[in-house]
Symmetry: C2
Subunit: 596 residues, 2 copies
């Protein structure tokens, strides 16, 4: 059964307790955003997600999207749910007030995103892509475009799409062929075919604003010849209302493993009218503005599904009775004990729980950095925040989505045979989670971004935005303390990470394939150390609260237990990553292509 | 694209080269089974699987099974494929000649099973369950039942099913409620409802023979009150032909994540006529005869899907061009280089390859033990073989199926966005692979079987059937040799395994929950060491062949490269398993049930 209650207590912990000492401070831009306000926002979001989005999750998966004669019909209930979503102002939660947004911090927005993804990841993709498009337009579009499009995209009256991939190129956008011919009046005519366009066509809004990568006639080859264009489904009239159908159509939607209620469209541009966004041939830069915003969001999808999978598994493990506890009968009133008594079931539940809480803590830190990057009080803070965001974006995207699939699979396993049956709802989590490891740059590409771009940037400056807080924490907590064993564990894992970093740094200078061969293991290693850091901080706070005396002893005790489990049973993966990295590219690259 | 070419060269390596020194010898029972004969069998099986079963794999997944008014219709092509399967004698490959079987060794049979599972795991479940039923009947049924049912089940004219699970009990069969009332003439009337019955109903054969667990009226509670009954769909007439419809019907089929072409049935027994198989109240014993045979078979499903996923991924990685190799342009004739040039793609392909070759090698050894258990020349050999089978059955079942899903997921990742689209065929591998971790005893149950029953049995005698060959190999190869680094790696991993074994043995005596908390990590640990042992042996043989000079240098070179990759990048997982085991049950069991 798909169960979800927004983990509000843990969200408040991440939002208000965990990262207060991270040096990003309480930003003046958010001075009016009181804890009471954020609390009300989170509670209202939880209600929407639990009452409106969750009930459409399984039915949307069963029904899927319909395609006929160029039109996409979303599953039953989606139109009404989207209307409620927009009317509640949820689309505009974190967008800038100058375009009608509510301007809440990302630290709140990412928690709301987690709830949306936990309850209906397919639904999340309709408004989700809009935000990336808004981010790009805000930075790169001229005033006329901003005025014409941003207010309606911010409110959610219109949605956005990101049209990058073509059949022959996804990762390697340098090969893209879609063309943009200047008309002479400042507009362009675009022609080409795009695939895998989420929300490229649907029935939720009266207009859809496509951001399209294409080549100008005189463009240089490769990625340096790509420009970004805004192409609306309907061209607005003088009053700004959708009026004339543009030359862009949906040719088909894909049949997919999961996220079946999300329309994944093949889009045809046939002399479609568009306008340049940003400089000619600088489209990739603008695209990365969208992409980076989306990548953190995709990571949150993994976390959201992981949390939903965990809760659904806990419900079943408490409900299902089977066998007797190894330590003796626990429920003599029942024919058998609930399976949550069995150590191997506990192992699965605790693994999911630890991954979810760890990821939530880390994304809470990254969200604060996203806010400080924009609104930090001084240049040093803004730079340090931007560095952490740059470093952690691929980690959040890839690690969280890997762990989301692992958690979904553990939920299926907890259900046994019943988990493989569609009616249980948990197998959907596996199918929905799988795409997040692929889109917005595969997890392999994230690992290459981390090791090839982020690690060496500015002589390791991005890395230091993470390494410094960790080493400071270890130093500050090296003495006697209730969390001393955890600090010792963090120290060992951090030394492993430093060791791996230096091995890679030395080898990659001589041979970039060495970096490529180490990339995925390095991403997992740094990601696990980041979760370990968040857990050690969490446990420290929890231990303090418990020592002071608190009415919430159960919450803080569970926090320490989850952290301990992570250190005991999950963090040791770092050692395996390190050995794999240390072995170098040799055995990975040795085999002749013909021998495969 | 779903690609499959039976890996005949590697199969011959496993069959004829790798395990010749394992002490199970060349069995007199198989003296007529020449290498030429087995070669012909494997080639013919490959043709059937590639030409008949593979083309029905995707279409069967798309179409699924149909259910109407108690009748199941299998997807288009399945009836004809099953006819060819039976006519070719494939159902009777390893069954005893006294019942019409061909009596080939399991060492050949398991390779053929791998091909069948690689090309159509849904199809494999129609004949697959029959073999478990045959195994139970051969041992436990009386002569009249054997005469009436075995010949037609062996030929494949009739199929068998295993009716164990009920809605409220899967793992904990002690709770089952299906009743069997004696009629007085030696037969019984069975009443009850079973779920998750693979091939419980279908249109491939004129009759289906259900082996059903049920309780006699005076049966003790729990697992000691379960008996096994044979219940045919149609009662045979005097001539042995199906004549009278029995009181057993299919009430529904399940909607599942995968294996959609396999009918998973809810079966209703309403006064159905059946006969006792074996002693009253000893049904569990007979069931384990079926179950153990099936468990190795389910492990092979993981391997088969893993191999198909690997081959499909290799095809795509050679075909798809995207980006340039980090070491410089490799294919200037193309717009980009094939993605197989990229280290992170290589990592994925090599991981799949190493898991597959390792599992094939290990199952080849276990298959030889299955043969030696029955036909070994002396009691000592038979016992040693039986010990290895007992120990390795849960390992093969759980490790292979875990790795099968990992490989299928890596294949999807290799395809990127295209892998998430149903037409690619690789997402089906993930969905089909997922069930194998659950049925015939979840992988958690396998781990408990390993650690709770197999490890302590006879003061560790089962364990010694594996530990002795490994330590002998390490000792015999400790000196200078081309595989010296691998032997050193095996030694370290083996010491880790021994360390984990002694930690568990000490703690579990005092507290069975300690064993439960360690079980899954221990299974993976011993499984990885078993693959490492097989790889070291393989590499040794390959190095010898290369030193002697061989026309097949490419094969043996690749074997060493794959083994090296396994040691470099996959075997280090053992260290993480060891740390998790060493941490004990504490943090796994600490949390209050209410805190979940």
């Amino acid at each position: 059964m798909q169960i979800y209650n927004a983990p509000l207590r843990d969200m408040r912990f991440v939002l208000n307790e965990l990262h207060q000492d991270d040096g990003f401070g309480n930003l003046p831009a958010y001075a009016d955003i009181t804890p009471d306000l954020t609390e009300a926002v989170l509670e209202e979001a939880a209600r929407l997600c639990q009452n409106v989005l969750l009930p459409l999750n399984r039915s949307g998966d069963e029904e899927g999207c319909h395609f006929e004669a160029g039109k996409v019909t979303t599953p039953k209930g989606f139109v009404e749910a989207y209307r409620q979503f927009v009317e509640g102002g949820w689309n505009a939660l974190v967008t800038p007030p100058e375009w009608g947004g509510q301007g809440l911090p990302e630290a709140v927005g990412k928690l709301v995103e987690e709830m949306i993804c936990a309850t209906n990841v397919s639904f999340s993709l309709y408004p989700g892509l809009t935000n990336g498009a808004i981010a790009a337009l805000t930075v790169y579009a001229n005033d006329a475009l901003k005025q014409a499009y941003l207010p309606k995209m911010v409110s959610g009256q219109w949605t956005g799409s990101m049209c990058l991939t073509e059949a022959h190129c996804g990762t390697d956008l340098g090969m893209l062929r879609t063309k943009a011919e200047p008309v002479g009046d400042g507009s362009f005519k675009l022609s080409g075919a795009k695939i895998f366009i989420s929300a490229g066509e649907h029935d939720l809004t009266e207009n859809i604003i496509h951001l399209v990568l294409a080549r100008l006639p005189d463009a240089p080859k490769g990625v340096k010849g790509i420009s970004l264009f805004l192409v609306p489904k309907f061209l607005p009239d003088a009053a700004g209302n959708p009026a004339t159908a543009n030359g862009v159509t949906c040719a088909a939607i894909e049949h997919k493993m999961g996220i079946k209620a999300s329309a994944t469209c093949q889009m045809l541009f046939d002399g479609a009218v568009g306008w340049l966004v940003g400089e000619p041939n600088r489209g990739l830069e603008a695209m990365f503005t969208m992409m980076n915003a989306e990548r953190v969001g995709v990571g949150i999808q993994g976390l959201g599904i992981g949390e939903a999978a965990y809760q659904s598994a806990v419900w079943y493990a408490k409900d299902r009775v089977q066998g007797r506890a190894l330590s003796g009968v626990k429920r003599p009133d029942l024919a058998a004990d609930p399976i949550i008594m069995h150590p191997d079931v506990r192992r699965m539940l605790m693994t999911m729980r630890a991954y979810n809480e760890g990821c939530r803590a880390l994304s809470g830190w990254v969200a604060r950095a996203l806010d400080a990057e924009k609104h930090g009080g001084d240049a040093e803070t803004r730079e340090r925040a931007a560095d952490l965001v740059a470093l952690m974006t691929p980690v959040v995207k890839a690690l969280f989505t890997d762990l989301g699939l692992e958690s979904a699979s553990l939920a299926v396993q907890t259900y046994g045979g019943h988990g493989f049956i569609r009616e249980s709802g948990v197998e959907q989590y596996m199918r929905d989670a799988r795409i997040a490891m692929i889109y917005e740059g595969t997890n392999g590409i994230q690992a290459l971004d981390l090791i090839g771009r982020k690690m060496p940037a500015f002589m390791g400056r991005y890395l230091r935005s993470f390494f410094h807080p960790v080493s400071n924490f270890i130093e500050a907590n090296a003495g006697e303390s209730p969390i001393a064993p955890m600090v010792a564990g963090l120290k060992r894992a951090f030394e492993t990470l430093q060791g791996a970093t230096s091995v890679i740094a030395q080898r990659a200078l001589k041979d970039p394939e060495e970096a490529g061969a180490a990339a995925s293991d390095f991403l997992r290693l740094i990601g696990l150390v980041a979760l370990a850091y968040c857990f050690a901080k969490s446990a420290k706070i929890a231990a303090q609260r418990l020592a002071e005396g608190t009415a919430e002893a159960a919450f803080y005790t569970a926090k320490i237990q989850t952290a301990t489990f992570f250190y005991d049973r999950l963090l040791p993966q770092t050692v395996a990553c390190f050995f794999a990295i240390k072995s170098g590219k040799g055995s990975t690259m040795a085999m002749d292509e013909a021998a495969f």
